[in-house]
Amino acid sequence: MSTQFTIDDLKRILLEGAGAEEGVDLDGDILDTDFEELGYESLALLETGSRIEREFGIALDDDVFTDNRTPRALVAAINETLSALVPQA
């Protein structure tokens, strides 16, 4: 069974690495909200990407955050990377 990256993983890692903007509720409906609207600029995303790489043992492309501007898109992209690493049973 392959490792899955979930929206809860993303929220936890965002909070650990970059905190949460005042007035933004990460437990709200954020799946399709642009990261910039959530208060995360490029450096916050760089830090988030670095933490995901460490925890999940993967290497992300430099443009993963420019190609995937929302939590839903990012979660999908990371799961794609994970599934490519782990052979399916």
């Binding site: 005042e22 450096l43 830090e47």
Partner: protein
């Protein structure tokens, strides 16, 4: 005629109190805040005393977004900025964003943040180093974070000239007010009481090695043997006096009336140090005579050579025991870029109350012809105060602060 730059808001965080009221209540009576270092175990180091800020919980004052990206000195500065806005009775949105700027001073940058990231680098690897290390350590980071948090997009910058920088930044802020900015934040914060910051300070060769908080930092005393470092600083809001009056500012503490800065000649040249000229330039800039100055806040380096240079400069300008001199920083230690802004705040509060806070613990050496206010505060009418600051490497700065009324 140039705009008159007045101080209309203060945010202060020192070992002797957070906020103007606590700070002044402790300072006016000479409360000592120097103690053994608690932020790390200092046992193995030759210097073990510091002025630490106790009970500051950044998480209670700042959004979680700012915590992972800020050093302690930046957290202190951001909270002080909030306090200064409140004190001034101004909301950041009240003034157009390009009419507000931030000019701070820095001596060390974010040493504790840098130490933590360096530790991750050598113990875990480069992929563990925070992306925020890119700016969190940086000298200009306090100006940047204050301007971002409060939407201040006018003239901004940072000055790096050790202790003198605290005055150089205030002078630069005054220039921006004169050029037409409506509101400029100025001041400085340093907070490097962590092992990496500590060894850097020890390497400067001027730290006291005493373990007795009452005998460790003794400027102008025959027993002077270095200084005790502290953490913290102050931020001041400068406005043009007319603008401030028009908006009905609650607090107009006083005017930044004069400034002078010089550089020392090459060591060993035998030429006179630059401090006297800095004082004379500042007095001339303010349009006052030596006899108009009611009190001098000394740099008070606490080493015999530097104390001698400062006492000689003061005596040369004001005459033997010609003006009350004080060094309230004996209570809290030397705060680097934060020291002189704190002294400017103290001078403004001294003017307001008519009280010179004391130099603590010191017994004046008969070798110095200065009227040092020791032991007890001295009630006296104050209209004009002079603040001195000298930076490691030859910087001398002087600021004249004057009552407005």
């Amino acid at each position: 005629m140039s705009a008159k730059a007045v101080v209309t808001g203060i945010g202060v965080a020192t070992p002797n109190g957070l906020g103007v009221d606590d700070f002044w209540a402790a300072t006016r009576v000479g409360k000592n805040a120097i103690e053994r270092v608690t932020r790390f175990d200092p046992e193995q180091y030759p210097s073990r005393l510091a002025g630490e800020i106790r009970g500051f919980e950044a998480e209670k004052h700042l959004p979680s977004r700012l915590i992972p990206q800020t050093d302690r000195m930046t957290r202190l500065a951001l909270v002080a900025a909030d306090c200064a806005f409140e004190d001034a009775g101004v909301q950041p949105g009240d003034i157009p964003e390009f009419d507000m700027g931030v000019v701070t001073a820095s001596t060390s940058g974010g040493f504790e943040f840098g130490q933590n990231e360096l530790k991750k680098l050598w113990s875990q690897g480069s992929q563990y180093v925070s992306a925020y290390q890119s700016f969190a350590w940086f000298y200009a980071v306090n100006s940047g974070q204050i301007s971002i948090r409060n939407g201040m997009r006018g003239p901004s910058g940072v000055v790096v000239s050790d202790h003198a920088g605290g005055l150089d930044a205030i002078a630069q802020a005054r220039r921006q007010i004169r050029k037409g900015s409506k509101l400029i934040f100025s001041g400085g914060f340093d907070a490097s009481i962590c092992p990496w910051g500590w060894v850097a300070q020890i390497a400067g060769g001027r730290l006291s090695t005493s373990d007795d908080p009452d005998r460790a930092y003794l400027p102008f005393d025959a027993a002077a043997g270095g200084y005790v470092p502290g953490e913290g600083g102050a931020l001041l809001i400068l406005e043009d006096e007319r603008t401030a009056r028009e908006r009905g500012a609650d607090n107009v503490y006083g005017e930044i009336a004069g400034y002078g800065a010089t550089f020392d000649p090459k060591p060993g040249s035998g030429r006179e140090p630059g401090l006297r000229r800095a004082i004379e330039v500042a007095l001339a800039d303010a349009g006052v005579e030596a006899g108009d100055v009611d009190v001098v806040f000394a740099d008070a380096a606490g080493t015999p050579r530097l104390d001698r240079e400062e006492a000689d400069a003061i005596t040369a300008v004001f005459g033997p025991s010609g003006v009350p001199v004080t060094a309230p920083k004996t209570m809290i230690g030397r705060l680097y870029s934060g020291a002189a802004p704190v002294d400017v705040v103290t001078a403004l509060l001294a003017i307001r109350e008519g009280l010179v806070p004391p130099t603590t613990n010191v017994e004046l050496s008969p070798a110095y012809d200065i009227d040092l206010v020791v032991g007890q505060p001295r009630p006296t009418s104050i209209r004009t105060a002079l603040v001195l600051a000298r930076g490691y490497g030859g910087y001398n700065s002087a600021v004249v602060v004057r009552a407005t009324d």
